[in-house]
């Protein structure tokens, strides 16, 4: 079947901070470069979810006048707290005893989704063609094996793959350089890493799942500019994770929880840990009398420098969280993603002008402050594989005494899908029932994401082996997909005594956790029809 073809100098896949920064920088360096950016969400920002305490370093470089341009970066951090939580007590850790990377004065509490919407406006004003609602579903290759571009998803197929009346064929976008900026665990990025062996000699990538809710709280509970983080309860010492509570503008509080996906107990439910966290005596009072107005979740990439794949390949670049530029101890990835995109634009401009090899990206990246940051941060996450206490002690030495300059590099040993222990060896966890005031169930939560996928389309969560969930994963791990999915896509149902694995793909919020954590890597996330997925507002 021949598809319509459109040609560009540069095609960018993904309208997050890295992709948009690439687009903007390309146009700033050479307004004549033809740039096209695709986004799978119905509009820019609708699939963006992030804490977010924002460091403006990359934005300062991209738009030194961002304040005059009215960027939605307004709420300055005014106060910081760090709490260690026990079951009912909390210990406040003095901020001067925190590593410097965790200091946030000069940073801002923002909605990354709104920042992306603003970046998209700037990009369009510079002449970038932005197409929301068009997922890139396939990488196209030249005969010599280099990346030729991408194809967009066909629209209007029924669940068996037959064309409906509304069928609209995907098209091919060919480019001199294709930039993959899909965010954490991009489904094309994953294919490229494998095909070009970009992760050869690197440590296995590490991931986490992050939850976020936006609450409108009582005026007297609101302290605009306050940033609080916690570690400890409800997680045990061996599970990596923590919370954030950010007091944003308009009486809103962004509250969230991040759990490393290298957790071992298949009975653990990240969603329920987050809900339970909100009942802690030092958290609950902030929310009481308030109202939850948004909910969402997204996997994030935590492997750092050790796991960072090679970011260039023939005809293409892999940037931002699609590669893994997040700075874990800083709990920030937006500024590094943006910078990685800006460096990409510089390399591409050189490539288009002087036919310079795209491998120049690597040199530029290594000379940049992103590399410096990631290098200093590299030992923090792996040290927490020894448990919370040892992790903290080591991180104190590494970050406060040596400022990340210890002469060795710790390794990540396992992929996250390998870490689960058999269900019968691990304790069951008894999670409290939701009270519908502070804590909620998945059904009422998914409702707040506004997620939708057109009925009767091919299931975009594909099983390599359809029998495996019931025959193996259920028996050995009590099918953890029922718990790690933040919106209840996966269910084990019993019909006439026969157990059935059900995939409610219409609820999917594109967090990619299943693609990462499924113990046999049996679930593959592919792109659904364009415009599907969550409709996040100011997440």
């Amino acid at each position: 079947m021949s598809r319509e073809v459109m040609e560009y100098d540069v095609v960018i896949v993904g309208g997050g901070p890295s992709g948009l920064s690439t687009a903007i920088k390309l146009k700033q360096l050479n307004p004549d470069t033809n740039v096209c950016l695709l986004e799978k969400a119905s509009e820019i920002g609708a699939h963006i979810l992030s804490g977010n305490v924002f460091e403006t370093r990359a934005l300062d470089e991209l738009f030194p006048n961002w304040k005059e341009l009215n960027a939605p970066v307004k709420t300055k951090v005014t106060k910081e707290k760090f709490l260690f939580l026990g079951k009912s007590k909390s210990l406040s850790w003095p901020t001067w005893l925190l590593p410097k990377v965790q200091h946030n004065h000069n940073n801002y509490i923002i909605s990354l989704a709104n920042l992306c919407r603003w970046l998209a406006e700037q990009a369009e004003a510079l002449g970038v063609e932005i197409f929301p609602g068009f997922p890139a579903s396939e990488v196209l290759y030249n005969e010599d094996g280099s990346v030729k571009g991408i194809a967009t998803q066909d629209m209007g197929l029924d669940k068996d793959g037959n064309k409906k009346d509304s069928f609209e064929s995907g098209i091919e976008l060919h480019a001199k350089v294709t930039v993959f900026a899909e965010g954490c665990r991009g489904h094309l990025g994953k294919q490229l890493i494998k095909k070009f062996e970009l992760d050869k000699g690197k440590n296995p990538q590490q991931y986490g799942i992050g939850f976020k809710e936006i609450w409108e709280v009582k005026e007297e509970k609101h302290e605009e500019g306050l940033v609080m983080h916690t570690a400890g309860w409800p997680l045990d010492q061996k599970t990596y994770g923590g919370s954030f509570v950010y007091h944003a503008e308009n009486k809103q509080v962004f509250i969230g929880y991040v759990i490393g996906l290298d957790y071992k107990n298949p009975h653990l439910s990240p969603f329920d840990e987050f809900q339970r966290f909100k009942t802690h005596p030092s958290i609950k009072p902030i929310l009481e009398g308030g109202k939850r107005i948004s909910y969402g979740a997204r996997a994030l990439i935590e492997g750092g420098l050790q796991s960072l794949p090679q970011m260039y390949m023939p005809g293409a670049l892999l940037i931002g969280c699609d590669a893994g530029t997040l700075n874990m101890p800083k709990i920030k990835g937006s500024h590094t993603a943006m910078k990685s995109g800006m460096i990409a634009a510089e390399s591409i401009t050189d490539h288009l002008k002087d036919n310079k090899n795209l491998s120049s990206y690597e040199d530029k990246f290594k000379k940049s402050w992103v590399y410096e940051e990631l290098h200093a941060a590299r030992n923090v996450k792996p040290s927490f594989s020894w448990g919370l206490i040892l992790g903290i002690i080591f991180t104190g030495i590494d970050q406060i005494l040596f400022r990340g300059k210890l002469p060795f590099t710790l390794k990540h040993k396992h992929s996250d899908y390998e870490t689960l222990k058999p269900a019968n060896e691990m304790p069951k966890i008894d999670y409290p029932k939701p009270d519908n005031l502070i804590t909620f169930d998945k059904t009422s939560s998914v409702y707040l994401t506004g997620t939708i996928h057109a009925d009767n389309q091919p299931v975009h969560l594909q099983l390599k082996n359809k029998d495996l969930p019931i025959k193996y994963t259920l028996e050995k791990f009590d099918e953890p997909a029922q718990r790690y999915c933040p919106v209840g896509v996966y269910e084990v149902q019993k019909e006439n005594d026969i157990k059935k694995f059900v995939i409610n793909s219409q609820n999917c919020i594109h967090c990619k956790t299943c693609d990462i954590k499924e113990p046999s890597q049996n679930i593959t996330w592919v792109t659904p029809e364009g415009g599907g997925g969550p409709k996040y507002g100011n997440m």
Partner: protein, 249 residues
């Protein structure tokens, strides 16, 4: 034949609508907006008629703030030829919209005016009918099937009793039901082409129309929360409860 299609920008139908704390309306900040769904059906039908050779021009029109243009742009991407945006800030009631559309019809002289049967934000279901009154044109509301004849339309209407088929003379107003058709997807090349199609900008004040709301909105409230149900042990108990407690049988 020339078809004018009216489209409205509303809160996306998948978004959970929140009431403002002070009860003065609903929250529209940080909320995804889209074209009113039955307006998409109206555009689709117009494009189908044009594709069948029975119409030669489709003009998409919207009334609202600057961003309302997005709905016109979308109509242009699926086949409308050009657009008109009448700029009005704040709430515009159906009466004002129909007065504005009246002016536009006088100017554009279309043979047909299509629009959704109602908007999903205010559920008024009035604009088409009021416009028909202003123009003194026949109207076919809740259309689920349209057949274009020589100088008339045969329209099947969704009514409470079932389906009603009527014939209206052209020029006419048709308000469209969701069952009318399945709106197509805009293809990427067509979205690009749509960016180059013209959208005429008109200020409502230049049309000499007073768009001030005539209705005073007193309060907006969320519907009461549904109470938890109960489980009954047997059919007998259910019947008994329906009879004695709910008193519905």
């Amino acid at each position: 034949m020339k078809i004018l299609v009216a489209v409205k920008r509303v809160i996306d139908y998948n978004v959970q609508v929140r009431v403002k704390e002070d009860g003065t309306g609903v929250v529209t900040d940080n909320v995804k907006m889209s074209t009113n769904p039955p307006d998409d059906n109206a555009v689709e039908e117009a494009v189908k008629i044009k594709e069948s050779g029975k119409a030669n021009e489709i003009v998409a029109v919207t009334v609202g703030e600057d961003k309302a243009q997005e709905t016109v742009r979308k109509a242009l991407a699926v086949g409308a030829d050009r657009g008109i945006h009448i700029k009005v800030d704040g709430i515009v009631e159906p009466l004002a919209v129909s007065k504005i559309l009246h002016k536009i019809v006088d100017k554009e002289k279309p043979d047909l005016v299509f629009m959704g049967k109602q908007a999903i934000d205010d559920d008024c279901n009035q604009t088409g009918q009021m416009l028909a009154a202003f123009l003194n044109w026949p109207q076919a509301t809740f259309a689920s099937k349209i057949e274009v004849k020589e100088k008339s339309l045969e329209v099947t209407r969704e009514v409470d009793e079932g389906l009603e088929t009527i014939e209206v003379n052209v020029p006419a107003i048709v308000t469209c039901d969701l069952r009318l058709n399945e709106p197509r997807y805009a293809s990427l090349p067509n979205i690009m082409k749509a960016k180059k199609k013209p959208i005429e900008q008109i200020n409502s004040s230049d049309l000499g129309i007073d768009t001030k709301p005539r209705i005073e909105q007193i309060k907006v409230e969320e519907p009461p929360k549904r109470k938890a149900g109960i489980k009954v042990a047997s059919v007998e108990e259910l019947v008994q409860k329906l009879k004695n407690e709910a008193k519905v049988i």
